[in-house]
Subunit: 349 residues, 2 copies
DNA sequence: TAATACTACTACAACGTTTTCGTGTTGATA
DNA sequence: TATCAACACGAAAACGTTGTAGTAGTATTA
């Protein structure tokens, strides 16, 4: 196990100064071609590679961005990470991932752990708890310290930063409108509690689409699921609520769910009750993940283009980092909307 | 936008030396309580936090580990990351993610990008291309530079390092044995090409289980899928191969697939052919992901415990990092096997 | 009262770079 | 033969820390 080669070592061996070595490796015109060749050859021999940490310290930039997400076992976030990685890597940046596990304190701790010089900027999707508490102090502190921040998906207006989101309302509208067009008369909604911004916005889209078609939304058809503990385990609660819905409203012939899991579970319950899809019941979900694609019947869904979101977020962030370091006049903050697409599969007629 | 506070600034304002400030913040007995209190109060006021990069440079350790995986849009890897993150964070480490996208050169580039001082160690699952080329030079170089490395899941004996893997062969054996016990007589296998180590090992388990029960494996029943381009898109190839299998062997009553996607697709094809599951055909997959849980019928599967793998890998790596820095006598390399569990659901009787 | 021992600090080197500002040697010019 | 570029290189500061090795000034001891 050898130690890493440093400029100092090269200098000593070649009997020149550190400066000379450094300049030679950068093809400085100050250095004779002879020396350049010698230094380079020797550097190659010893497999010299500049120490990134030293460079970070000197340049005051780490070429690393931090992405903080609530959950990594989740197709959508995974796609976003992929988009971020792709763009960031192409720009010479590394990506460091922090998981909040939907917990406020984890989010804060994670950000503090990184905001000590380890990263040049953040890409964040808030934890559920943060949305609930509406405590955005850690974001503002980060911004005050001069660390740029881009929020995505779960965004909130109070924070002055760049944002990337999906047109949740419009996507939901489109989905519900499509169900109506395909003949559904009584459409139920399975959504989250209102503090989840995306759930709230998609609910809004659902209601607007109904209103636009002269249908008065029926509160009983709107299931607001509290998925505090849900996610991986204990879907029973969800299943039983859906069962009750079907029991009380046997004429429901359309379901719009704000994520693919809810939609798939709804289909499962429906099938177990002998309801045929899409003949008797049409279903559309949100987020185009593995589940939608491989469910049976496969699920029509609103695609969020997570990878594009990640790319855009990374682009905005790196742009902002450049702006900060170049002391350019600050640009106004961007709010980019990634448009959704409706992907029709077997769960709709 | 303020700049970050440094020791120097604190020192100047308080009219003491930098050393005094540094020591005061660390409660050094060299410093009077009076000064300590003053320094701390002022530091809090200015929201001082030590610069991590400077510390990394000084201590020659970054408290960061790099994890290189072939694909992040994949439940298993995602679970592993979660496990790594949890353990690493608890130990004060950050996790930086590199994606190879199953490409050899991406893997090499990614590792080189990080092996310049940015990280203290690697956790790696090889790309498919790397397995194919059998070119492990970049791993060995990394090790030679004194950067510890832990491989997981897709491992290979040639590399002298710690390893964490699943008992692929045994897990497959168990699955096939279970199918046999549940009455299956003619069991097909859907696996990968042999250069994928886990596919090869699971195939081995399949064959051994059959042999142990006095059944001679039939080559035609073994589908070796070339998923070079597959994954996200173009499942048609896979579907048509499975269709052909059923056409030629209508009496197949069991399927073991080396991942959940293959299993789910197999079920889909079977259902489309009017084959009932689990009555006429029983199916078991590998990897307990979202698909298995929410497929219909839900899929019996061999659970890999990705999170445990990640935890264990992180544990081994951090242990090794500590060993390297403390100049302790080197311990022999560990090869940890995470045992699999068979989770029985609706796709088996 | 001089030697000694604390106390409470400060100076400085070091980690590995880059970069600015010298500086000594050539060769050409007046 | 002085003067001055041009050339090729070196010294040193800087990035923000930490820790070792001083060093004043005061208090204790012989």
């Amino acid at each position: 196990m050898k130690k890493r080669t440093t400029l100092k070592e090269l200098a000593k061996e070649l009997d020149v100064s550190i400066s000379t070595v450094s300049k030679a490796l950068k093809n400085s015109p100050e250095i004779s071609q002879d020396t350049i060749d010698k230094v380079k050859a020797f550097a190659k021999l010893l497999n010299y590679r500049p120490n990134n940490i030293a460079l970070s310290l000197k340049n005051k930039k780490t070429k690393t961005i931090g992405i903080i997400i609530p959950d990594i076992v989740h197709h959508f976030f995974t796609k976003v990470i992929k988009g971020v990685e792709n763009y960031a890597n192409a720009k010479g940046y590394n990506v460091i991932v922090g998981l909040s596990n939907e917990s406020f304190s984890n989010e804060v701790i994670n950000m503090e752990m990184l905001a000590n010089g380890s990263i040049d900027g953040f890409i964040v999707s808030m934890s559920r708890e943060t949305m609930q508490h509406q405590d955005y102090q850690h974001f503002n502190e980060t911004l005050n310290e001069g660390i740029p921040l881009v929020m995505f998906d779960r965004i909130v207006n109070e924070i002055p930063c760049d944002k990337v989101a999906v047109d949740d309302t419009k996507g939901a509208q489109m989905a519900v409108k499509t169900l109506l067009n395909k003949g559904a008369k009584k459409i139920a909604l399975i959504t989250t509690k209102d503090y989840v911004s995306v759930g709230r916005l998609r609910t809004k889209g659902y209601i607007e689409a109904l209103n636009a078609n002269g249908i008065t939304p029926i509160p009983e058809l709107i299931l607001k699921i509290d998925d505090d503990l849900l996610y991986e385990d204990s879907l029973e609660n969800l299943e039983s609520q859906i069962k009750m819905l079907f029991a009380q409203h046997h004429d429901v012939d359309g379901i719009f769910a704000v994520n693919e899991l809810y939609a798939v579970v709804a289909m499962k319950v429906a099938k177990s009750l002998g309801i045929s899809i899409p003949e008797q019941l049409q279903v559309i979900g949100f987020t185009d993940g593995m589940l939608s694609k491989h469910a049976s019947p496969s699920l029509s869904t609103v695609s969020q283009h997570g990878e594009s979101m990640g790319q855009k977020a990374a682009e905005l962030l790196i742009q902002r980092i450049d702006e900060y370091t170049s002391e350019k006049p600050p640009q106004p903050f961007n709010s980019v909307i990634i448009t959704t697409d409706l992907i029709l599969r077997e769960s709709t007629k």
